[in-house]
Symmetry: C3
Subunit: 343 residues, 3 copies
């Protein structure tokens, strides 16, 4: 019995703990193809080696969200096996592209702790870094989760809530080395709209929808070696439903956003995000976006655009919260990210 991993409980986390997560993963052409089979992903930079080279990269990298999922998946056995809820993300930065053949691993540091007033659980803040085989950090983000206590009598730790930026300043974003959109081919990319064509406050209905299947979300979640029981075992929840990994919804919404944001090519920053309502098989996921901000960058022809991406299970687009300030029941996801776009 003692051989299996029971996961960590709230009282097992100490401020400053550094957790080296298990199971490094080499990613390659197979993961790229599966990403395209599982999501309607069409951003040209991630579809064509030729297009990526014409933008100054060595070849087409693994989708930024696939890199995120691989890094995130490794943290699950140590961070969220006993999590009640995944509460938020902040300060997510993609520091360099992940290419086929790279081997990723993850390390997390406990940067905040706060026991809940009920004494039964607490919030754990971790900063996770994903690294490649050269030890270079490819991704760095903060997430916080609510974790159950095993022993309700365990003393509460000193409350430490990290100061987190609401929005990553554009000057902190890392533009991939060599990225150059000066000769960007809008025809091949699929839409004529450049950075200058988007206005802050503009909202885009991405129109398309995908009805979610059990086999697909499980294949995706396994591919990232995320093993939380709740995604796979229909006997685990009283209602017999498998809760869909939130990252599946993020990737689905991002892929759907191609229709209207085909040129928001690379994700470089994750300012924040909330899984507003759980997603289950049989729902039809749709998406809309709002332009939150725009900024220039020092890379040739490359602008930054800050976007809110909302995934819903139907209903009218552009509806987010009710009069009570709570997310509407059809809202699945609300994330805030920075992408790079040709100017």
């Amino acid at each position: 019995m003692a051989k299996t991993n029971p996961g960590r409980f709230f009282e097992d986390y100490k401020l400053g703990d550094v957790i080296a997560h298990a199971v490094p993963r080499t990613v390659g052409e197979g993961e790229r193809a599966l990403y395209h089979a599982l999501y309607p992903a069409r951003h040209a930079l991630y579809s064509s080696d030729e297009f990526a080279r014409d933008c100054g990269l060595a070849e087409s990298p693994l989708d930024d969200l696939a890199a995120f999922h691989v890094v995130f998946g490794k943290t699950v056995p140590d961070v969220s096996l006993n999590a009640v809820a995944n509460l938020g993300y902040a300060e997510g930065k993609w520091l360099q592209p992940v290419y086929p053949g790279d081997t990723l691993r993850s390390v997390s540091e406990v940067i905040g702790l706060k026991q809940n007033s009920n004494g039964k659980s607490g919030v754990v803040y971790v900063r996770t870094r994903g690294m490649n085989q050269l030890g270079e950090v490819v991704l760095d983000y903060v997430r916080w989760v609510m974790v159950r206590k095993r022993d309700l009598d365990a003393p509460a730790p000193e409350t430490v809530i990290p100061e987190l930026k609401k929005v990553i300043p554009v000057e902190d974003l890392v533009i991939p080395e060599g990225l150059d959109f000066s000769n960007y081919d809008f025809t091949l990319a699929g839409e004529p709209h450049r950075w200058g064509d988007y206005e802050v406050g503009e909202k885009i209905d991405h129109v398309d929808g995908v009805t979610i299947e059990e086999a697909e979300h499980m294949m995706a979640t396994r591919l990232w070696q995320n093993t939380a029981k709740v995604h796979f075992d229909a006997t685990f929840r009283p209602d017999g439903q498998r809760l869909i990994y939130g990252g599946h919804v993020i990737s689905m919404a991002r892929a759907l956003s191609f229709n209207g944001l085909a040129n928001a090519q690379m994700i470089v920053g994750l300012n924040g995000g909330a899984h507003a309502n759980p997603c289950f098989s049989g729902l039809t996921v749709k998406a809309w976006s709002e332009v939150l901000d725009k900024a220039e960058t020092s890379a040739p022809g490359v602008g930054a655009i800050r976007l809110r991406l909302v995934a819903t299970s139907g209903g009218e687009p552009f509806r987010l919260k009710g009069e009570d300030g709570k997310y509407l029941p059809e809202v699945l996801l609300d994330i805030d990210y920075w992408a790079l776009m040709p100017m």
Copy 2:
């Protein structure tokens, strides 16, 4: 709103228009493995690099139909987003194999237009060319679709119906450079039947069947970046069913035809084809073939065989049309193609 692609309507097509389709795609080992996971594909030339080399090729190419689907998928946002029906194919020629690492893109030319008598829609004929990263044409075919008009008052264009060959003459087929079946290994290929063993008029029941799942047809269709809503969004059609991409049925039937046609290795010509009835999840696809013609080629040991391939959702094999000349309800697909076979 204006940022999303509404698709083209009938009055948006002009004779001679050349449309460069978006989102080039690099194909590789991942696409090959997924093709084998999604279809019961066993033709040895597409399964083994060694076998392909023994037949004079550089390595095992991507399945000919996978190449077709990638090229076709790119045309969907520009050609068939508002299509009422995919009416037919003609003059399809595979001009060279697609290898892992190749990057494909597609260009279509409008070669025919005919407004329907009801004034609400029209037929658009396009010739599509798929090209690799060197600009070499790998596939060339004609298809015609019925497309709605947006503005019913838009004037009808001059009717131009292209002259299309009913059957590609064998001398127009392009045999892959170096292809040599002189030392073909029938044991490894799976069946002893050579070109000389098939007679014109012979019919083959492929016996096996596959029951279709939603997750599989969606993964396949996404892999080809075909984004027509009707395949993915269960809320789009009034009956709550997702219409299966016709190409999924083509690939399923072709893979099933291994049992009896294991040596019909490479597809080089598509003479015509009809999606006789829609396919939905839960149906069990079976297939039968009829030998329509045979011809010799100039390549060593290589014969050409012209085959009718019919996919059904059950019933007795070899039944195609009723007394009224219409396809029977269980017929899903009726295509006419040229394949290469060892003599």
Copy 3:
């Protein structure tokens, strides 16, 4: 009609027959990624090229069970198309790792025959060898199946039952060349438990469960080019259910066993195995293991551990057979294998 493969019947097998199975298969990164998408596989040696190199291998090999499935799949059209039941396995040895780019084929020899007393069927014993493109044997195992007779009047063959080892002696196991666990990284591997921490008789509940989907088992089974109708055609069995390929259950159970046996890295011997009850879509597969034996090997830091792996469809762990000596209804699989583990 004569062109399709009817499969062999009992009277078609002769002692000493050598059957070269069809359709060689080149495996690569795509198969590796799909294996990770279809099973919750996390053993580090099969996930990371870096980890595999640190253990003395050239790179991360294809999962041992994926190699098994590819070799096994090729035998189906010749050995088990008319099989009533897959009765057992013995003397399975993995002789060298399979790497991306390798091309596999299979050859079987009939080593035993025994007609059943009812005269309607018989048991066929075959020794199957999987070979790579250099002709090197990568896998060697015996299985026996019950096969129907076509002609009930065909004379019974002389009964020959091969002598098979109940357990492969540890000195017969082949350790991959260069394998060295001296500097094994337990943190990256995911668990601290080494060979010395396991005791003979110890039982491990692997805790996690996966609810099985039709799309997933069909994709897996097709990927191994196993084409037995019963896995794909819902109209084939009177109950309308698709019987799941036994190998799918083996891979699922083995992947689940990571939780408690993360360091049982490589499978090198299959002593025996039984598919105790059929598995269908909708069941939730769980697994438990029992340590049956332990032995040292000559490779640096490498111990051998003999494990019983049991897959169930629920119920309490560690229950196997009833008072009648028969497998309990919830037991799906009972296999006995040798794995390599850091000492």
